[in-house]
Symmetry: C2
Subunit: 355 residues, 2 copies
Amino acid sequence: MAPGTKRGGNSAAPSGVDVARLAGVSQKTVSRVFNDEPYVSADVRRRVLDAAEQLGYRRNNAARALASGRTRSIGVVTLGTALYGPASLLMGVERAVRDMGYALRVVNTMEGDPAGVAGAVGSLLDQGVDGIVISEPIEEEGAAGETPLRVDVPVLVLGAPSPVTAPLVLTAGGGAGPMARAATEHLLELGHMTVHHLAGPQRWYAARDRLEGWRSALIAHGRTVPEVIEGDWSAASGYAAGRELARDTEVTAVFAANDDMAIGLVRALTEAGRRVPQDVGVVGFDDIPVAAYVTPPLTTVRQPFDTVAQEGLKRLVHAIENPDATQLPAADPPVDLIVRASSGPLVKGGRATEQ
Amino acid sequence: MAPGTKRGGNSAAPSGVDVARLAGVSQKTVSRVFNDEPYVSADVRRRVLDAAEQLGYRRNNAARALASGRTRSIGVVTLGTALYGPASLLMGVERAVRDMGYALRVVNTMEGDPAGVAGAVGSLLDQGVDGIVISEPIEEEGAAGETPLRVDVPVLVLGAPSPVTAPLVLTAGGGAGPMARAATEHLLELGHMTVHHLAGPQRWYAARDRLEGWRSALIAHGRTVPEVIEGDWSAASGYAAGRELARDTEVTAVFAANDDMAIGLVRALTEAGRRVPQDVGVVGFDDIPVAAYVTPPLTTVRQPFDTVAQEGLKRLVHAIENPDATQLPAADPPVDLIVRASSGPLVKGGRATEQ
DNA sequence: CTGAAAGCGCTAACAA
DNA sequence: TTGTTAGCGCTTTCAG
């Protein structure tokens, strides 16, 4: 066989041996140079680097992984949606993974996917990853895998309790409860007797979380807890809910579980002749890019996606690299309520202040 | 060394040899079973599968990649943004990659990243991928890599001309020009003498593409081509542009390069007392989820992200698996103009019809 | 239909 | 400071 005509791989891809030969050293020395190991003379290092450059050498990751048992990559399981929240989180995770020096592999779970999260995790395990991030898993129906699924790498779950059992499970995010509570209290402080809630689909932990935050605020302030309306995150569902709520003149304030629904809601309210914020105060959640520019500008809550991802990944990588002492759970991210016009004080004579 | 106490890898991960031993066959037979190769008796296959199940066997991908020279994975380079367009495309790519039986690796290029696309591609090459998807690359400044970067796998570029040189470069998407043209013509047909354009950042190919579509429509209809205002995709930049445009009463129609800017624009126009659509018609681009629910509901253009991703990936995978006959470029995706209230016919006595 | 042998390109342990 | 020797767990080739 002529050199470079090896069996597998790109016919021309040079190997560490090729570089070693050209540099006049052993293959192990090439390995040392590329791993920044100590005990390599400056001279040798130079020669190796030159030879590598000349040949266009690139370490073979598969071989590295095989020999070392580490892939230096992290897998993430996400819902396959372009919704602002999940998409932002994914971007944050990518950045954090890269910053930690790992590669990222992505697998989506579509809603209604029979294999569900377990299937996605399995596929990641097949690919070989050193750790797994499960981003905002939702509750699954009968999707329980027949086989329990042995996960033998650390897992970080973002914004939910863990849907899998693994030797080490970390969690991060999911601090939306207090934020939802703050949003609700904001409306209460504006003089509303109570606040209605337009919830997200309750199979989403994020949705339940916000609902609980809302409820706890009302209870803490001794207010009645109105019936919840459940949407599906879409502006369309917000619109439908708005038409319903508009019929009830008792409704003077609504906290929506995300901005899209809030926008649909505002539209329905407006069409029904109920002014926002004079007749009904509305608060959303997420601070999507257009929130400040819709009419009226939306009061909302901003989540620190990047911080959550970064902080979570730092702990995951720590767990991967030090399979011992567990780390401390991080402090809850800060509440960031952004007050805009949609939640101005009540104007129309005061049912809200009359009691 | 006790069995299971091998050097690399998870201490307990069973190998094909373990399965073979348990099943009473050779390791090669185990390999055959897991690769669905022919010539394995049903009986043997059963035994192997049972043994594998019992041991919790999982093929080691690194070893497969090393031995075969194929990683069965595709890398994608994206801008690290949660903007609706790019995020939707990424989701489409993930789905398409998975459907083709490949794994997905993701690397983001942040704007202003010194290494730029070349760096991201390099990192993918380091990781080892069989093909690369570059999604909506933007023009880079002095980021020209010192080393030309040898890409030796097929590349698919989505929505732009290729920023790298590779032996095989495919392209898909980028059919936004005709859509922008259709959007512009729609406004013309409504009676507007001309249409202003609120463009995206011109370093984005998508932005230039839309601008060209707009310009070509005006020229084809013999209209004057007003000066372009350039935004940065954000609603804030749309708002700023809107304040400027509101001062010019000649402006009766604006085509914005995305919905976020259109929403900011509408807000500024409205605040300045110019009614949409009666005084100024507005058309956006993307059909973001809230577009139908803002005030007024936005006329916009929907792009077939999934189709583009799917179609492109089919060709990329074909190229990977058949390093020969190139495939034909696909037909441009269909124009999908969604007419809503923001572009109703001119109402105020007609500068638009007076000429 | 099944198996034995070789080797992918690297890292890990041990010498020198 | 450098080199030698073994594998990592698979696929490939060639024999049965």
